[in-house]
């Protein structure tokens, strides 16, 4: 049922595969997953997905080791990256607070 969320890619997927465009791994996976699903799409979603995928294609790095690493193991490293971003930002903020506090203590 979750597939409904991304059904906007079907029409675009067909077009892309027909033209034989060079796509990044994620987009190819997405295209392959979506093709078997038939659905009626709203024009807005189609247009939006086209724009998003076009942006993805233009920024694709074929053979990038970073991308390959992130796409491996069912994208689990994306989850790791997301949690690391949160904890790093919060840690940096808390360390800054701690430094300010230390400065105040020294002044005293």
């Amino acid at each position: 049922m979750n597939i409904i969320l991304f059904t906007g890619t079907i029409l675009l997927a067909e077009t892309i595969l027909q033209t034989g465009a060079l796509l990044q791994t994620g987009t190819i996976l997405l295209v392959e997953t979506m093709l078997p699903v038939g659905a009626i799409l709203s024009p807005g979603i189609i247009q939006l997905t086209e724009t998003i995928l076009q942006a993805g294609i233009s920024t694709s790095e074929a053979g990038s080791s970073f991308s390959a690493f992130m796409y491996s193991h069912n994208l689990i490293f994306v989850v790791l990256g997301v949690s690391l971003i949160i904890w790093l930002l919060l840690a940096v903020y808390l360390i800054r607070l701690d430094k300010k506090l230390s400065r105040l203590e020294k002044k005293r």
């Binding site: 049922m1 979750n2 597939i3 409904i4 969320l5 991304f6 906007g8 990044q24 994620g26 987009t27 996976l29 997405l30 997953t33 979506m34 799409l41 709203s42 807005g44 979603i45 247009q47 939006l48 997905t49 724009t51 998003i52 995928l53 942006a55 993805g56 294609i57 920024t59 694709s60 991308s67 992130m70 796409y71 193991h73 069912n74 994208l75 689990i76 994306v78 989850v79 990256g81 997301v82 949690s83 971003i85 949160i86 930002l89 919060l90 903020y93 808390l94 607070l97 300010k100 506090l101 105040l104 002044k107 005293r108």
Partner: protein, 213 residues
């Protein structure tokens, strides 16, 4: 929070096409926005309380919760970008309304601090900042929740997509709701630390200027 984090990584999740393991990001990315919204709502309340009572403590509370709210908003934005890169294929797209309007909401709040820094008189600064904070808080529901739902978007609940409640597997909710509560509690704690530090700084400045006089 430890239990939530452990469960977020270790619990089995349904294999959703395209998302795969990244459906676990639901436990990290989405609570950031909940925490930010709660803090900005707090900023609204403290700003109103300042304007009605002229108590500078309320202004300091408003500043602390807004500062922390921006921190959580930036976390939400960066985590969303990473997630988008590996599921939608791009770090950023101007075609995705929720992404752009969330960034706009954050910029409105960044302007709050620019406005604050342009006044030296604490009373004047507090009053202007409180009025601006009320304006900023009223834009948040529209920019982050109302308008994106009216436009085509790949986010759940937007035009053409099923709502979040329709696509979330029941087992995900067991971790998602505690994660939301945990991150909100963490954000409130950080805001409280920020508030206490601000108060301490002001107290020290007053003590110093008093000893110089």
């Amino acid at each position: 929070m430890t239990l939530v984090l452990a469960a977020a990584f270790m619990m089995p999740v349904p294999d959703i096409p395209i998302l795969h393991e990244t459906s676990r990001n639901l436990f990290f990315h989405v609570p950031m926005w909940f925490a930010m919204t709660v803090l900005f709502a707090g900023g609204l309340v403290f700003s109103i309380r300042y304007l009605t009572g002229n108590d500078l403590r309320m202004d300091h509370w408003a500043e602390a919760v807004t500062r922390t709210g921006i921190l959580f908003g930036v976390c939400g934005l960066l985590t969303g970008m990473l997630w988008a890169r590996f599921t939608w294929g791009t770090w950023w797209t101007f075609a995705e309304p929720k992404m752009n309007l969330s960034a706009m909401a954050l910029m409105i709040y960044v302007a709050y601090f620019i406005l604050r820094s342009s006044y030296d008189d604490p009373e004047k600064r507090a009053k202007i900042a409180a009025v601006y904070n009320i304006f900023a808080a009223t834009t948040v529901p529209f920019l982050i929740y109302v308008i994106p739902r009216q436009l085509p978007s790949l986010h759940p609940g937007a035009d053409g997509n099923p709502a979040f409640s329709d696509i979330t597997a029941p087992e995900l909710r067991l971790v998602f709701y505690p994660a939301v509560i945990g991150f909100i509690a963490l954000s409130v704690w950080i805001a409280q630390l920020t508030f206490r530090l601000t108060r301490l700084q002001i107290h020290m400045e007053r003590t110093e200027s008093g000893s110089h006089d």
